[in-house]
Symmetry: C2
């Protein structure tokens, strides 16, 4: 099933043993990804499994919230007009009726936060402002009509569309939907992401120099795809000899919305992933002016295919900046970088090459941004020291000290 | 096993049916929590289960990273001095030796990114800069010694303590530790948090006004405790009649580092949680100048106990600002609020009462901060509309338009 090497040359040519004749800009690659159709269906999920999911449409409140006038405090339900002007020197005296009963004129009843307001009452007086004894309540202060009361439909009217629930559902969003009595939600289907990892080259060196190096891309990508709401369809790691066959099989297998491949995208003689994609489908672009991550390839084989570099940091940032756009957009999320950001001032120069979008790993020291390594250098040790990264656009040769930059914070 | 109501009065007195005579400041409550001992043990966990865990001590690199000089590019390994001054017009000619073999004088060999640098070579020339044919490499450009090479121990020296890994472990941190060949990590034990939820009052109203209201605190608290690294020991929801007995049993049960209770902390006659804590252990303080969350109580019963209000937003923010401090600190994390923050300008006044620390729910509109409701108002619908919250200190009567404020972003 492995195509012969004489397969039609990809758009950018076969770079193996030669190098990249040219590279696409990060903007062009992003635009290609953003132009892919993204019309996943919807599905109903139980409310308690909907954290992080994205609603397919604003839900309609089946009832008002609250459904009845509710007490917002522990205390006594009264008629405000009957305690007007009351004070410690001239208290109003009300007859206490049993809790839960209507409050007639001249009366009050004990209530607790969250209970329905008794009929007849229009305000709740906190316990602090009255003294009960022998069935009589001495009220030491006036209270405005509606004080301590939450009116029926005060939060949400029955039949209203609930606004503001456009992103991944947070716990407080789910609490609102649960309070409205909704049991299932109509959400966008999770994008199915098939993941094929080439694994380290057999001749590459492991920690002790003689053993095989550990496989690092799989744990990174599984985490990132899940963070972005994707549903993983992992393929077994084929080993170096079986990679080409495994990739062709994955390219020909239906049932996913995106195929992600890590490894075999560079200029080495065994970097055959782009050639195989060109043979089986369409290689749209290979080589991006991005560091790290410059050997990324994009294409189609019945659905979008992203070929990520195998080097772990290149794999990580090619996912964040490119593949992740599609995962996020397919799932109804904002395609942009998902990290919390912080605007801060560069305390030292962030160096970068003109013509290349550089990921500058940085840390925040006393509120200022400092690089932990030059772009593409420092490896995983630099990434572990970094609080996040600054993306330096291709048009700039870095940021000078004192420049305001946006740090994308990589949180735990 | 339920103590009688004549139990010793708590520090702040029994507030049921009377109200709070005074309240502790948020700072005093935080200081009490921060003064509790926090010396959890450590445990060894497999690397692939360590995401989000906190290291007990900086790990020592068992080997250098990389262990050998490695190639940082696909191309040809050369001796830099032998291609000095080479150009397209005056190329250097080198003999190609088999990949993986040492590179003698006058020779070069093909290499791939991540492979060990062949003995004898001191630089890697990308494929773009040379042309191979018939066993001869024509080199069209010079290269500096060390270019395209990552020196052994360049990232981390063998025996060095790894700095910067002080927070919850991120995926890139784990990738570094995995690359060093570490299989298990020495981490701080997760704090065990016993969770007892009182559940809604039977007389409170559900979505349709007649049914029982849904239980909202459990899903919120389970998520928050897990977010903060806690290990949940949930207790069954006892129902209103069984709450007192369930609380006494939980107070007397060992095996957790913190007991969290939600509900029955207010001034209603059935708000017996603080009284039961005072009878079984020690009630340190009850009533905090915090809105929402003012009926929170703190105390001890062999270990810290936090009694949270049952109203969902009060429960949420009392956890975030108080109970969560202890969960985070017990687990070796920063006890402060864990949300990403953004500094922004108030576009409208954020109102607040002097003397009360107010949680102002806000959204960001065109980069400016706007309140979605007055403090303590708007309920879950306001929380769902909010991007986050601003904490207005007790000393302030709010923030005027134009003031710079810190928004704690509640992400999905």
């Amino acid at each position: 099933v492995v195509p012969r090497r004489e397969a039609p040359a990809p758009a950018s040519g076969d770079v193996r043993g030669r190098g990249f004749p040219e590279r696409a800009s990060l903007e062009a690659a992003s635009a290609w990804l953003d132009a892919q159709p993204a019309a996943l269906g919807r599905e109903a999920v139980p409310l308690d499994q909907a954290a992080g999911r994205v609603l397919a449409a604003p839900p309609i409140a089946p009832v008002g919230l609250p459904a009845l006038d509710l007490c917002l405090a522990d205390g006594h339900a009264v008629r405000a007009a009957e305690v007007l002007g009351a004070s410690a020197y001239d208290p109003a005296r009300l007859r206490l009726v049993a809790p839960g009963q209507p409050v007639p004129s001249g009366a009050a009843s004990r209530v607790a936060l969250g209970q329905p307001l008794p009929a007849g009452a229009d305000a709740v007086l906190p316990f602090e402002l009255a003294q009960a004894s022998d069935g009589v309540l001495e009220v030491a202060a006036g209270v405005a009509e509606g004080a301590g009361v939450e009116r029926a439909s005060g939060q949400v009217a029955a039949g209203a569309a609930l606004p503001g629930l456009t992103g991944p559902l947070r716990r407080q969003d789910l609490a609102l939907l649960r309070a409205l009595g909704l049991a299932t939600l109509d959400v966008i289907r999770r994008p199915r992401v098939r993941l094929l990892i080439a694994g380290p080259r057999p001749a590459a060196a492991g920690p002790t120099g003689s053993d095989a190096p550990p496989e690092l891309d799989g744990p990174l990508l599984r985490h990132l795809v899940e963070r972005d709401g994707g549903l993983l369809l992992p393929a077994p790691i084929p080993g170096p000899a079986g990679f080409a066959e495994a990739l062709v099989q994955a390219l020909r297998t239906a049932g996913d919305d995106l195929l992600l491949v890590a490894g075999r995208t560079g200029t080495g003689l065994d970097d055959d992933a782009p050639v195989l994609l060109a043979a089986e489908g369409r290689l749209a672009l290979h080589g991006i002016s991005l560091r790290p991550g410059g050997s990324t390839a994009l294409g189609l084989a019945g659905r979008p295919v992203v070929l990520l570099p195998g080097e772990p940091l290149a794999c990580l940032f090619a996912y964040e900046l490119l593949a992740g756009r599609l995962v996020r957009r397919l799932g109804g999320r904002d395609p942009g970088l998902p990290h919390p950001t912080r605007e801060a001032v560069a305390g030292r120069k962030l160096v970068s090459a003109v013509g290349v979008a550089d990921v500058s790993l940085v840390r925040l020291v006393a509120g200022q941004v400092e690089p932990v390594a030059a772009p593409g250098e420092g490896g995983l040790a630099a990434a572990a020291r970094a609080d996040g990264f600054v993306l330096v656009p291709a048009a700039l040769e870095g940021f000078a000290p004192g420049a305001r930059v946006t740090v994308h914070l990589q949180e735990g």
